[in-house]
């Protein structure tokens, strides 16, 4: 891809955006010209996206951070929602998710709901990787960073299959949410939570029945 590439970078840290810009400016192909818009929160991002649709100049690439301050009207809670919205209004745009989260559940969820062209974990991202990821997304998507790939591989190779709810249970447990509060988070009854937890413990063959052991096992196999 050459010529003008319209880009929207969404991140609440100006420092990071600066990093992205620096990297892309240094690594862009000579024939590429980057037009970069910057949004620091959901409201700004929506504004830019709506504006580009109005102008008839849709973004080619969107850099979306997952953890963002929610929009004022509360419709957009995170980058995930923004990405979903971008998909509907820019069907052709390439979406690159850049996140600090490296938990299996979140990764799994993001791939499932957004299916981004690029998926980068900030903690193991280098500028060269970002540069090559950018090019790869433009020409040969998708591009997943190493951490994401290994997560995917782990959950694919594992013969354990768990549904969304159980995944969420594992995730919440790993966040330190107490069992009695799980029910409220998942909108199911406490006894159902207990049942599922027991199921999970059986699946991961946790013999001592401890939540910690369960989480440890799940982490080992890439479910958390």
């Amino acid at each position: 891809m050459s010529g003008i590439i319209k880009i929207l970078m969404i991140d609440d840290h100006p420092m990071i955006i600066e990093g992205y810009q620096n990297t892309l400016q240094f690594s862009k192909k000579p024939n590429q010209e980057l037009l970069i818009d910057i949004a620091n929160n959901c409201d700004e991002a929506i504004k830019y996206m709506d504006k580009s649709v109005e102008k008839g100049m849709p973004y080619d690439v969107l850099f979306v951070d997952i953890s963002l301050p929610p929009s004022k009207d509360g419709l957009m809670q995170s980058g995930e929602d923004l990405a979903g919205y971008a998909r509907t209004i820019f069907p052709k745009a390439k979406i690159i998710i850049l996140t600090m989260f490296n938990e299996s559940f979140r990764i799994h969820n993001i791939i499932k709901t957004i299916d981004p062209e690029g998926f980068l974990i900030k903690s193991d991202l280098t500028s060269s990787e970002l540069a090559s990821a950018f090019q790869a997304v433009l020409h040969n998507p998708p591009f997943y960073s190493g951490t994401v790939n290994s997560h995917i591989r782990k959950s694919i190779t594992s013969d354990i299959v768990i549904d969304e709810k159980n995944r969420k249970i594992l995730h919440l447990l790993s966040q330190g949410v107490k069992t009695k509060n799980l029910a409220a988070h998942l909108d199911i009854s406490l006894s159902a939570v207990e049942k599922r937890k027991k199921q999970l413990k059986d699946l991961f063959s946790v013999e001592d029945g401890q939540d910690e052991t369960l989480l440890e096992e799940a982490r080992k196999r890439g479910f958390v």
């Binding site: 840290h13 100006p14 420092m15 990093g19 620096n22 990297t23 400016q25 970002l130």
Partner: protein, 677 residues
């Protein structure tokens, strides 16, 4: 095994044999007690041995602890000492001792027949020694025998009573006793013993009627007695002599001298009587002679008198000589032989002084008539004096038996009353003891319950505070968790993001060598510095545990706020931040909490204060809690043991603290509590 069994069997039979023989030896020895008693009583035994047997019987019954036999042995010993007839020296002290031993022991073992027997033998002993004692024991024995329905022994004892009454001139009383005894004897089988006693009673009745001058009746009873005696013994062996004599006396008193003489002759017909029974012989001879004198037949007089007197003097029968001397004096007086009359009258007086006062009275009257002048006056005065004293005595005696009987009954009634009173006293004291014991138990139980309730309440209160502290602790934990989350968020969102951005930028500028690039790198390195600062800040935040220790102070604050709000008090809290509450055990915290609560309660209840000041200060590792109010105050010396103060004191002791209360009436009270951290 068989051998063993055999050996066991032999052993067993040996023991059985031994114990059997021991038992039979005991029975043999007990039997021998009776044997010895009988032997000591037997006339065939030598007097020397009698006491030996009696003491052996006593020793054996003591050895085998047979009380019944011991009583019998005592009675036997007493009877041996009762007179000198058996050749054993009469010993009053020993008799009394053994009799009373028998009396007491039989009373203790409640053996009524033996008790009656002991009384009877005592009565018998005193018969010729002390009329009162004799009457006392006899009437006791009578009562006991009556209770035992032993009619024969009742009648036997009554015989002594009847004769005692008679000798005290209570003829009517004696007559009644005799009739009573005879009716008892009528109900019994006619054994020789019963018949003998019936005859004796007839005789006594005959004598009584003579004294009462009912001669016909007297003759009737004497004849009944004579007939009965004849039926039992025949007329042989002088058995009828006393009866004949008595009948003769009655006839003589009735003036029927011929019939009297006939009876005396029946006695005197026995030519050997003077040798066989000189006592009876002289009595009968004297009576015979006196009857002759009364019937004015002087032919054989005074020879008969003199003969009788001679025998009396030779055999020392002093008593009989009384009557003879009297009759001789009368005889000589009748014939005017004054000297002889005086001689015998003085003899009469001399001898009678030893015996009956009645005879002495007669002697004195006789002498006052025989003598002349001053001597006559002297005798007459003596006569009057004696007569008066006798009269007085008689009067006193008249109802003596009735009185003794009555007094005995009285004493017994008194005893019963005392026994009853004692029983009541015993019952009342037992009831009182039980009641007081019960009251003690109840009070004790109540106190214990109170104490338990108090402890329970204390525990509940402690638990409440503990829960409060626990929930406070939970709150703190939650706050901690929140803070942790906040810091993590801050690290994640702030520091990490910026660090990432900086790294990314530096990474992209890494290869650049342009001045611009160098410049930019410098900018990012500065950025790293600010990030460094931020991290330091977060780290510092992590280091200062903003919640530590706040919990207890919060609890105390909320306690004080709530309480003062309820009590409508203004309050001021001054808390020394230097106090490390976390180092103080929960137990002590609870005590401190309760102390503050109690103190505030006291202030509300008693002080009528408007405001209260509470302060915690730390001085030399001692926490000083001062609670100061502006209430009415009180006298510290007077109020000491209120339950609230007691509570506070016990809690202060628990925390090794000390309490100081200063109060000024009208100004307020300051409570200072110090305890080590």
């Amino acid at each position: 095994v068989i051998q063993l069994n055999l050996r066991f069997f032999i052993l067993f039979s040996f023991y059985a044999l031994v114990s059997y023989s021991q038992e039979s030896a005991r029975i043999r020895e007990l039997d021998s007690v009776e044997h010895y008693i009988n032997k000591s009583k037997a006339e065939s035994s030598k007097s020397k041995n009698r006491l030996k047997y009696a003491f052996r019987a006593k020793a054996l019954s003591q050895k085998h602890q047979s009380d019944t036999l011991l009583v019998k042995s005592y009675l036997n010993l007493a009877s041996l000492y009762s007179d000198s007839e058996n050749g054993i020296q009469h010993d009053k002290d020993l008799f009394v001792k053994y009799s009373h031993d028998a009396l007491n022991l039989s009373k203790r073992i409640n053996n009524m027949p033996l008790l009656a027997l002991a009384n009877k033998s005592l009565g018998y002993y005193y018969y010729d020694k002390s009329v009162d004692s004799a009457y006392y024991y006899n009437s006791k024995a009578e009562k006991l025998y009556r209770d035992l329905k032993d009619d024969l022994n009742t009648a036997i004892v009554l015989y002594d009573i009847a004769t005692l009454q008679r000798s005290d001139k209570d003829y009517t009383g004696s007559e009644l006793t005799c009739i009573n005894a005879l009716s008892l004897l009528d109900g019994l089988d006619e054994t020789k013993e019963v018949l003998r006693y019936r005859a004796l009673y007839y005789s006594v009745l005959g004598l009584n009627f003579r004294n009462l001058e009912q001669y016909e009746k007297s003759v009737e009873y004497h004849e009944k007695g004579i007939n009965l005696t004849k039926k039992i013994f025949g007329n042989s062996d002088n058995v009828q002599n006393p009866n004949w004599n008595n009948l003769g006396n009655t006839y003589r008193a009735a003036g029927q001298y011929k019939l009297a003489i006939e009876n005396y002759n029946l006695i005197l017909d026995n030519k050997n009587l003077a040798a066989e029974d000189p006592d009876m012989y002289t009595t009968a001879l004297d009576n015979y002679a006196y009857t002759l004198f009364l019937s004015k037949d002087y032919s054989k007089l005074p020879g008969l008198y003199l003969e009788a007197l001679k025998i009396c003097d030779s055999l020392n029968l002093n008593y009989n000589s009384v009557a003879i001397n009297k009759h001789l004096a009368e005889y000589y007086q009748a014939f005017g032989k004054k000297d002889s009359a005086l001689y015998y009258a003085y003899q009469f007086k001399a001898v009678s002084e030893k015996y009956y006062k009645d005879d002495l009275l007669n002697a004195l009257r006789m002498l006052s008539k025989l003598e002349s002048d001053s001597l006559a006056t002297k005798h007459y005065e003596a006569y009057i004096k004696l007569s008066d004293s006798l009269l007085k005595n008689e009067r006193a005696i008249r109802n003596k038996f009735g009185r003794i009987q009555y007094e005995t009954d009285e004493i017994e009634r008194e005893n019963v009353k005392i026994a009853k009173e004692r029983m009541w006293l015993l019952i009342i004291s037992i009831v009182l003891i039980i009641a007081s014991f019960l009251i003690y138990v109840i009070i004790n139980q109540r106190n214990k319950n109170k104490e338990l309730k108090f402890i329970q309440k204390q525990q509940e209160a402690n638990e409440e505070i503990y829960n409060l502290m626990l929930s406070q602790h939970e709150n703190i934990e939650e706050a901690r968790a929140l803070e942790k989350k906040r810091i993590s968020q801050e690290l994640h969102d702030g520091v990490l993001g910026r660090l990432f951005g900086t790294r990314l930028s530096l990474d992209s500028l890494n290869m650049g060598t342009t001045a611009d690039a160098i410049n930019s790198r410098g900018k990012y390195i500065d950025e790293l510095k600010t990030i460094e600062q931020d991290i330091r800040k977060v780290s510092h935040e992590l280091n200062t545990d903003f919640v530590s220790g706040a919990g207890f102070v919060d609890i105390i604050n909320s306690l004080i706020e709530n309480q003062t709000a309820v009590y409508k008090l203004k309050h001021q809290i001054d808390h020394d931040g230097a106090i490390n509450w976390d180092a103080i055990s929960n137990k002590n915290k609870i005590h401190i909490y309760r102390i503050i609560q109690e103190t505030l309660h006291n202030i509300h209840k008693h002080a009528h204060a408007k405001s209260v000041k509470i302060s915690f200060k730390l001085k030399n590792n001692v926490i000083c809690l001062v609670v100061k109010d502006n209430g009415s105050g009180f006298d510290v010396n007077k109020v000491k043991s209120g339950i609230g103060l007691k509570n506070i004191n016990s809690r202060i002791k628990e925390i090794n603290g000390m309490l100081d209360i200063k109060s000024v009436i009208g100004k307020g009270t300051t409570v200072t509590i110090g305890f080590p951290t």
